[in-house]
Amino acid sequence: MRKFWCAFFVFSPIVAIIYSIISSMVPSLGWWFPGASVTELGQRIDNLFYLILYIITAVFIGTQVAMGYVLWRASRSKDERSWFSHGSHSLEVIWSVVPSVILLFLALYQMDVWALFRVQAYFPKEAREAPVAEVTARQFEWRIRYPAPGKKLQLKPQSDDLYDVNDLHVPINRPVMIQLRSEDVQHSFFLPHLRVKQDAVPGQIIPIWFKAERQGIFDLTCAELCGWGHYKMRAQLTAEREAEYEAYLKKLQADQNYDGHATPSAVAKKDE
């Protein structure tokens, strides 16, 4: 039985490691990140994730091997008595100082990315000066308000603002800032493919920025419990080229100005 239990406690971390390796190496399983990050900042977040992952994997293997070894030794002990020891001062010092240095390094090493992501003074200037849209979360949808083409987003809604629901369009290859609000309870703006997440807090306007570097339609979901329909807040982020983005805004404007008489495209012409 002793052999069985020793093997059991050695075997289970091995299974865990094999399973993790398979998950990270076989993307077709979908048990890892949903693709490489669409933003550069997201890639840096992923790199920090991998840095932590490598360190903790080393610690995990180290501690589990040590544990397996002492277990095997202790279960096969032929000595009449255990080793009488109350501990070792030098070992305590070593295993307090070494991890604390590693941990402190890890904490300080994260600061840059956090500052870039969240501290407004570090936001790219062009994004900070002209937010592209205001996203208002409500039970259970995302309402999006764009300024009219050529205008700047104002704090209060303007008569020529453009509206859409559950489909946020942004241009690629330039940093964009979004004003995030909540109309009712707390929500969280989560773009898994961009590694962006920010809670929408009632009563607050929270700016977020990102720079999509790839065209595509990405999932936008809610990551903070907001009621029974929390799971239903399914929306999308459409990242597209500048020209397509402008065309989209134009079409939105045309549809919004449609008075029921002229054909929508004619209205669009008139506006130009």
Binding site: G30, Q64, R73, V185, T221, G227
Partner: protein, 614 residues
């Protein structure tokens, strides 16, 4: 030492009193129901929490059923509960995970550690004949009953459905969660009652440990279990008032009185102009983030309240099972204290994405990352304890090893959450769920299962069945890891928590089979608990009889009869040495040396001077 002197006198007084007590028969009510005996109260807590463990587990299986087989009829419970023809509706699902967490945290993990084992072990291990305040102790159990009743009422009204964190405004404005109405109010009252119960326990434990230790039981001769309980009691005393206050603030925010009471309707957490469900805009000037700060100021220390006693108990069990002194007793004590101290300044790591000042994110990150240090020291010391020991693989040992092994996983995965930029992505995904289940179930509950086996002979005078215990361990361990390890991968894939149907999102569709695997593992784990319950109940009546000290352990509790009578010790204990003198070479005839053993060993003092006073 004055404390010891006082304890001594007090002990004598009590002993006389008990001499007189012993003769008159206690009624059934006095003995088993409204008992002031710490052992009976501990067992009352233990029975209650084991029952609640099954309730909480059933709720979890409901959650798992929906995630594995969405919108299909739930077996067994389907006809009982659900309002949609046996299906789990999204409202019901929200209630399920809210109440699962509530029951498990407030009615299982916290009371099983502090309530059951704290009560049972503290007086026995420090050599007191009861708690300092026996009536207060009884009340601390009986305040759990209204708490359970309130949570029960919450079920009747459809169940609180704002998550166990109950963030306003969802938990505050009735229109925001129409199904939760009075349920949320009852939930808050229930939490308040649990708080009162914990606070009574906390005051009692601190007083008892400070004032009622047996002669010779200095602070650094206390078993680590007692250190764990002591630090936990301090944590509760400092953290709980904040939650209670926050709970009342939320209650007053929720109340809409009429007449002269109208002024009581407060707006602590309500900002102005919030329109929920097309209701009239709110009037206010409050701040919802305030609740998060207050809530986590309690609930993060609460995580350590749910962990430290189990760490202490495992240290005691592991030393006994390895027949070896604990490796680094004082570092163990200091690291528990460090965890408790740092535990008060890390609450903000639950709020990295909440929109609080980003500078706070940085400070909280540093403190949170640093709390991994004392945890690491503890793990190294546990491994050091096994190192060079003579191990017997009984059920207790298995649970202890699982405890350390699972704590390594849970502790390491916590570093991802502590690092703010990484937390941006993984916050509120399943990697968080994996992490805290590894800590709260994998670590604490394995510790508790081990502790049940270990102290069962002291509670009932009989041993639990070993082979059933091993099967229970094996199935729980396999089921647990099968259920929770893959959740790390779900989290990395961006799978959010608390989704009634995640598969409507294109990037999550392919994760259904993995979730089905998790659910099957969770079922194995859940049903394995019937083995524990069966073993527990049957062993009370049919277990192998155990003497005073079936494990050849050192603690004071093992010098009392099994089970100890009213007043605990037939001989007032005196403590002569630390609790971990296993395999001491100065004791040639046996490999343990009880704390109460007056035999001071051979007169060659080298070893004694070196180790006797640790």
């Amino acid at each position: 030492m004055s404390a010891v002197g006082v304890a001594h006198e007090h002990g004598h007084e009590q002993e006389h009193a008990h001499g007189a007590h012993g003769h008159h028969q206690q009624s059934f009510m006095q003995k088993y129901v409204f008992s002031t005996d710490h052992k009976m109260i501990g067992m009352q807590f233990l029975f209650t929490t084991l029952l609640m463990l099954m309730v909480g587990g059933a709720l979890a299986l409901g959650v798992r059923w929906q995630l594995a087989f969405p919108w299909t009829n739930m077996p067994i419970f389907g006809p009982l509960f659900a309002n949609a023809g046996g299906q789990i509706s999204p409202e019901f699902y929200t209630m399920l995970f809210t109440m699962h967490a509530t029951v498990m945290i407030f009615l299982v993990v916290i009371p099983v550690l502090a309530g059951a084992f704290g009560n049972f072990l503290i007086p026995l291990m420090i050599g007191a004949d009861d708690m300092a305040f026996p009536v207060l102790n009884m009340l601390s159990y009986w305040f759990m009953i209204p708490a359970i009743a309130c949570f029960g009422m919450s079920f009747v009204y459809g169940g609180a459905a704002a998550g166990w964190t109950s963030y306003p405004l969802l938990s505050e404005l009735r229109v925001a969660a129409p199904s939760s109405g009075p349920a949320q109010t009852y939930w808050l009252l229930g939490v308040t009652f649990v708080g009162v119960s914990s606070m009574m326990g906390s005051v009692n434990y601190m007083t008892t440990i400070i004032n009622m230790r047996a002669p010779g039981m200095t602070l650094f001769r206390m078993p680590l279990t007692i250190w764990g309980m002591f630090i936990t009691a301090i944590l509760q005393a400092f953290a709980l008032p904040v939650l209670t206050a926050a709970g009342f603030m939320l209650l007053f925010d929720r109340f809409a009185f009429g007449g002269w009471l109208e002024g009581i309707h407060t707006v602590f957490f309500t900002p102005a102009g919030i329109v929920v469900n097309n209701a009239a805009p709110t009037v206010g000037g409050g701040q919802p983030l305030l609740w998060q700060h207050l809530f986590w100021f309690y609930s993060h220390p609460a995580v350590y309240i749910m962990l430290l006693p189990a760490m202490g108990m495992t240290s005691d069990m592991l030393a006994c099972m390895c027949r070896k002194p604990i490796f680094g007793y004082k570092p163990m004590v200091y690291s528990m204290s460090a965890i408790a101290g740092l535990g008060f300044i890390v609450w903000g790591h639950h709020m990295f994405t909440s929109g609080m000042n980003p500078a706070l994110g940085m400070t909280f990150m540093v403190s949170t990352v640093m709390i991994a240090l004392p945890s690491a020291v503890k793990v190294f010391n546990w491994i050091g304890t096994i190192w060079g020991g003579r191990l017997q693989f009984n059920t207790v040992t298995l649970h202890c090893i699982a405890f350390v092994s699972m704590f390594i996983v849970g502790g390491l995965s916590g570093i991802f959450m502590a690092a703010v930029p990484v937390d941006i992505y993984i916050h509120d995904t399943y990697i968080i769920v994996a992490h805290f289940h590894y800590v709260v179930f994998g670590t604490t509950m394995f510790g508790v299962f081990g502790a049940i086996q270990f102290w069962f002979p002291k509670m009932f005078g009989r041993k639990m069945n070993e082979s059933v215990g091993k099967w229970h361990f094996l199935l729980t361990y396999i089921g647990f890891n099968g259920a929770f390890f893959p959740m790390h991968m779900l989290g990395i894939a961006g799978f959010p928590r608390r989704y009634a149907d995640p598969y409507i999102h294109p990037y999550l569709e392919h994760l259904l089979p993995l979730n089905q695997f998790i659910t099957i593992s969770a079922m194995i784990m859940g049903f394995a608990q019937f083995l524990l319950l069966g073993n527990f109940v049957i062993s009370i009546f049919n277990g192998q009889k155990a003497g005073r000290n079936p494990w050849n352990a050192n603690g004071l509790e093992w010098s009392a009869p099994s089970p100890p009578g009213h007043g605990n010790f037939d001989i007032p204990p005196v403590c002569y040495r630390g609790p971990y003198e296993y395999s001491n070479p100065n004791r040639a005839d046996q490999d343990f040396w009880m704390q109460t053993d007056p035999n001071r060993g051979p007169k060659k003092p080298a070893e004694v001077v070196a180790h006797g006073h640790t």
